[in-house]
């Protein structure tokens, strides 16, 4: 898999601090799975040596993909300043991605429960695209209503949407895991599957709920990375079989695999 200088087609701020970047890359667009990520060199400055992992947010067509990112530090700040027409050095797609129901029939029968904490929504849109055949119930949590992203896109895909905000400015007031907890009592499908992405604390709560309700659950982790391709062992998290690499063995893991006690 070669490294590529990838053309930026667009890079716009969609809400304060959140950017949507459109990239032109047939290679990536045609060879990526939901849950995979790009490892991006945000700057050539030596105080920003390492790449930054960002999920494939959407595959727009066979040439074009999108990433959705929040500016949290130097790397994402540099990225936010890139202009249309510039190129960026990306490795990827990397990582294992979510495991999807295999057959159309299974997809049809399965109820997909998406849980996104903040920017955790990023990979779940691509996932929803691939699961268009399924019934999707999406739980979107954020600090405040401005940070509830992609509700429109999900609605267009006929998803049922539940929103929570910590400040109560939209939907349920509180954590998205609590919202899910309440709803799980009423939802009642034998063929559910949970896909979750967000902060570690949230994932842990979701994992507990999934265990309690015996719903299979896949979680996508964030971890500060070195190489992104499995050579340096910088990005590990604790699983029941010891440390595993988020970049290569993940970023998506079965919730059951994770040693939640030690995280």
């Amino acid at each position: 898999m070669p490294l590529r200088q990838i053309l930026i087609l667009n890079n716009k701020e969609i809400t304060s601090g959140y950017f949507l970047m459109k990239l032109s890359s047939p290679r990536i667009a045609q060879n990526t799975l939901p849950g995979q990520f790009l490892h991006i060199k945000c700057s050539t400055n030596n105080n920003l040596l390492l790449r930054r992992p960002l999920s494939i947010h959407r595959v727009i067509n066979k040439d074009t993909i999108e990433i959705l990112y929040k500016v949290v530090g130097k790397g994402t700040l540099c990225l936010s300043k890139k202009k249309k027409g510039e190129k960026i050095d990306c490795i990827g797609p990397l990582g294992n991605g979510f495991q999807l129901p295999k057959t159309d029939n299974q997809k049809h029968k399965t109820e997909i429960i998406l849980v996104a904490g903040g920017i955790g929504i990023a990979p779940l849109i691509f996932l929803s695209q691939e699961l268009a055949k399924s019934r999707i119930v999406a739980f979107l949590g954020a600090k405040t209503k401005d940070e509830i992203l992609c509700a429109k896109e999900l609605k267009n895909m006929n998803a049922e949407i539940h929103v929570s905000t910590e400040d109560g400015s939209l939907g349920y007031k509180g954590l998205v895991s609590n919202l899910l907890k309440n709803k799980l009592l009423t939802l009642n499908s034998k063929l559910s599957i949970i896909y979750a992405c967000g902060p570690k604390g949230m994932l842990k709560e979701i994992a507990l709920l999934s265990k309690e309700h015996q719903i299979p659950c896949q979680v996508s982790f964030e971890q500060f990375m070195g190489c992104g391709i499995g050579i340096c062992n910088a990005c590990v998290i604790r699983t029941k079989q010891g440390y595993k690499r988020v970049c290569k063995d993940g970023p998506v893991f079965d919730a059951e695999e994770i040693d939640w006690e030690k995280i």
């Binding site: 898999m1 490294l3 030596n46 040596l49 390492l50 490795i91 391709i229 910088a234 990005c235 590990v236």
Partner: protein
């Protein structure tokens, strides 16, 4: 006319001076998807210990001014699994590969070397001397000339595979250690490993890394490493692998001028897994521009 960029490390011939440094290319398999390994000079495996090691708690890497700090903690599957699961891939390569080992005692180093001695195709064994000697409290093997000497001696007794001593910069005087290597008939000296360093997370007020401190690598350490290579080259004629912050061909040439016969690149691999290839091309271009027909002519030239 293309210049000759092949070099020799004792009896080992490398097609070019660029070696992938220990811990920054795994056991070759993953990086092979991004880099044609058969085009690099050589590869050094991640350090192997007798028993599997699970390493330090995350976060294991921090990005700092001009470098990174890692506290991987020698995570590795242990020698048994290495021989069974990792060696077969390495054996298929057309380039020399060196196996890095680390023990908790001198005897453990020898034990590891003995096991590797039975395996075919290993071009050299690199002794990672930047690890604590459990018999000597918190001292590292490579911090004491005597222990360095004895460790190498013991290893050489059990194997005829060439031995590389990889030195730690955390010493009073690197030439003392290099002289001990020389006296022990060490075949190659590799330097430097990372420099102990740490980061405090201002949001929490606590050390950022799971392992509290780690090792600094990358551009920030280049000039420190260069000085050590230069100093060592002045006192011993053992071939040297220079290492520390080499990000491009110019950096590599500086180390070669300082006395290194080959160089290893670490951090650069993490940033771009194909950086070895670019670095090699840049060395070639440097030689072409200066009309120098062989890289060997540059080795140690700054010392004249």
């Amino acid at each position: 006319m293309k210049p000759d960029i092949s070099v020799k490390l004792c009896s080992i011939k490398l097609q070019n001076p660029i070696i992938l440094a220990s811990g920054t290319c795994g056991f070759g398999e993953e990086i092979a998807k991004f880099l044609n390994l058969n085009k690099v000079g050589a590869l050094i495996t991640k350090t192997i210990t007798l028993k599997p090691k699970e390493g330090n708690p995350p976060p294991r890497i921090a990005e700092v001014e001009g470098g990174i700090i890692n506290s991987i903690g020698l995570e590795n599957p242990g020698i048994k699994s290495f021989v069974k699961d990792k060696l077969p891939f390495l054996r298929k390569l057309k380039i020399p590969f060196f196996v890095s080992i680390s023990g908790e005692t001198e005897d453990e180093f020898a034990e590891l070397a003995k096991i590797l001695d039975k395996e075919k195709n290993i071009s050299a064994i690199e002794l990672n001397l930047s690890c604590p000697n459990l018999k000597q409290g918190k001292n590292l093997f490579g911090q004491d000339p005597k222990i360095t000497y004895e460790t190498i001696k013991k290893v050489k007794e059990v194997t005829s595979i060439p031995i590389i001593a990889k030195l730690t910069p955390q010493v009073k005087d690197i030439t003392e250690i290099a002289l001990a290597c020389h006296k022990a008939n060490c075949d190659i000296i590799s330097l430097i490993n990372t420099i102990p360093a740490m980061v405090i997370d201002l949001r929490t007020g606590k050390p950022f890394l799971g392992g509290i401190s780690g090792g600094l690598s990358g551009p920030a350490i280049k000039t420190v490493a260069l000085k050590m290579v230069y100093d060592v080259a002045k006192v011993v004629d053992t071939p040297i692998i220079g290492c520390g912050g080499i990000m491009n061909g110019k950096d590599a040439v500086e180390f070669i001028l300082a006395g290194a016969s080959a160089v290893s690149v670490g951090t650069a691999n993490l940033i771009s897994p194909d950086s070895a290839q670019k670095t090699t091309e840049e060395i070639e271009n440097y030689l072409i521009q200066r009309k120098i027909n062989s890289v060997k002519k540059l080795i140690g030239k700054s010392l004249d």
